[in-house]
Symmetry: C2
């Protein structure tokens, strides 16, 4: 690096730009099929597409867009195979919304390690601007039977991940998306087209979507019977629990960081709800004894990450930082103890409880159960 950058000729822009050599944002890829987003390094709400979380059981397939087809069949008047160009020809809509894997923050059920980072704990969520064609438009094109109540949505991955989705949801706001953050979907995100179900758990948003089969009941796919059931404390199992409840997390300061000195520090994080808009985020610096109102960054959009910020003066003594989100239905993000009382610790569903970051007197930040 030059001592004075103004004394050195600059370089011209290339057709595609690069990050600064001083910035190395990277996802954690602990399992061969997942990638966790470095939320701790992020600003605002948009997740860069190349750092968006991924969870896929059988890897990312290679798909030639010219040979891509989406088949809609079953209880329809006119079974139809749509090419990508066909899909793009319909009237389109765009929507800025979050996605979250049902397994995000799962470590907190049984107790996360003190050295957990926000990337490890919360890195399976992201917000993008998606563009595509409403499923309702495609259903109108093929003509669905009045008795069609469920659709099998199936992907082109090696596992052909498939989920049963109520037709009602698909008609209300389901989207077959081919655009993300301005450009074509990335392969990891379902290129060339995927299903989006705003506010519903990640695995229902089938990537590399190749088929929607209409029927009058759930299809009871392999994944639905073997994997995606949730254990209740009474020993029963629940299926088809879809909506992501309100949740929030402080991302700065967070686990693994060190606050260098007492004084003013902005506490900032993200809040989101599958049921609509976030209406309130409260922040506590004393482990939940007292709470203050955080500022929400406008525009606050429904089913979208909402950036919150809270001014905090650290006096240099031990502190525990927590955030608590409320959504437009009035639902308040619960304490972990409430969740565990209701669900036990073996529940396979989303952990959306309050999490805590403990700040030690030396400024070190660690995860603490709250």
């Amino acid at each position: 690096m030059p001592d004075d950058p103004t004394k050195v000729p600059g370089v011209p822009p290339a057709p595609v730009g690069m990050r600064s050599p001083f910035e190395h944002p990277a996802r954690l890829t602990p399992a061969p099929v997942s990638a966790r987003t470095p939320l701790d390094q992020f600003y605002g709400t948009i997740t860069p597409s190349d750092l968006h979380f991924v969870l896929t059981r059988t890897g990312i397939p290679a798909i030639d867009p010219g040979r891509y087809r989406l088949l809609i069949h079953g209880m329809v008047d006119q079974p139809t195979s749509f090419s990508l160009d066909d899909l793009k020809r319909f009237p389109s809509v765009s929507r800025i919304m979050f996605l979250e894997c049902n397994g995000n923050t799962a470590d907190a059920w049984k107790g996360a390690k003190p050295d957990s980072t926000v990337q490890q704990l919360e890195g399976l969520t992201g917000t993008s601007e998606w563009t595509g064609v409403p499923v309702a438009t495609l259903f109108k094109e093929v003509g669905i039977d009045s008795g069609a109540a469920w659709a099998l949505a199936e992907g082109s991955d090696a596992g052909a991940l498939a989920r049963s989705i109520p037709v009602e949801k698909l008609l209300s706001d389901g989207l077959v998306a081919y655009g993300q953050n301005g450009e074509a979907l990335r392969p990891e995100q379902g290129y060339p087209a995927r299903l989006l179900l705003p506010g519903w758990i990640g695995n229902t948003n089938i990537k590399w979507l190749r088929r929607l089969k209409l029927g009058d009941q759930p299809f009871m796919t392999r994944y639905e019977t073997a994997q995606y059931t949730f254990s209740e404390p009474d020993g029963k199992s629940a299926q088809f629990a879809f909506v992501l409840e309100a949740k929030s997390a402080i991302i700065r300061p967070s686990g693994g960081m060190t606050i260098p000195e007492p004084g003013f520090w902005e506490v900032t994080g993200l809040a989101w709800s599958g049921r609509g808009r976030i209406t309130r985020v409260e922040v506590s610096a004393d482990g939940g004894q007292t709470w203050g109102e955080a500022e929400l960054q406008e525009p606050v959009l429904p089913i979208c990450h909402t950036r919150f910020r809270f001014p905090w003066v650290w006096d240099g003594s031990e502190a525990v930082l927590q955030s608590r989100a409320t959504d437009e239905t009035g639902y308040v993000q619960p304490a972990r103890s409430q969740l565990v009382a209701a669900r036990g610790t073996d529940f396979g569903g989303l952990f959306n409880g309050i999490i805590g970051w403990q700040v030690a007197a030396d400024g070190k930040v660690t995860y603490v159960e709250s």
Copy 2:
């Protein structure tokens, strides 16, 4: 590519994702110091950071963020040099907004070529979510004199590009940004920190910002006297014309494309205004004789690209597509003839007139003066 992607094991996600090998979005870099965005390939409103337009007279400097400083001096109580960490420690804000180079669509003053593409004509504008510290916060920190009316904003590029900015603008919504679309600024966009002046011509949004010097009058920098003046038809020159007026462009279909067959085609594009929200976009398919109302994608944000869409059935005969934006001040995007009557064709300011795309009977789309 496999015949059936489900028969082949997928690849695991890498720490940073890639585009599909079938997608090659790239900027045009006709001059050594500019890069034009492929708007024609885009969906929604967010511009991917690595494809955002660039216009810089002396190239992109290499800057070590650890050695970066922003000096605020001149008519202030406490001249202060801020490190990047200092800037990040202040309360932050995020804002989704557009930038546009004053020279965007400049070819249309004298008459663009029929084979012009939307990338060539309109590719010097983009929308990002920016995060940073309000200039007002920094000015409060250093204490500016009551007589301070202008600030010199200077970059760290080899040309040390500098502009005189009214203090009133800086106080109202000026931002020193270090984040773009979730992550750190890209080097091309002013890494590690730049000035943002919502709605003002691109070159006032000084990149690689190293200095704000407060004074009681404009600083009459080299660029301001030699380059950034605008010629009026009466032979006088205008300086310090800052605000970007309302504008729109159809991006699909657009120059260089071919519509394969008659029938339904969605006409879509972007509209924007430096004075606030877009309130209306009209589309004409008959060269401006009749106009229909386009749908605006919500949320419509102030000083932000707004995606519009218009359903169009092409009957296979020659057509001329145009769009016309209105903003919240009531300002209506003018016809080229109105602009030229007022400004002549040697005006150095923004061309924001209506442009036309002619669709021939064989479906070929070319630029046509309108």
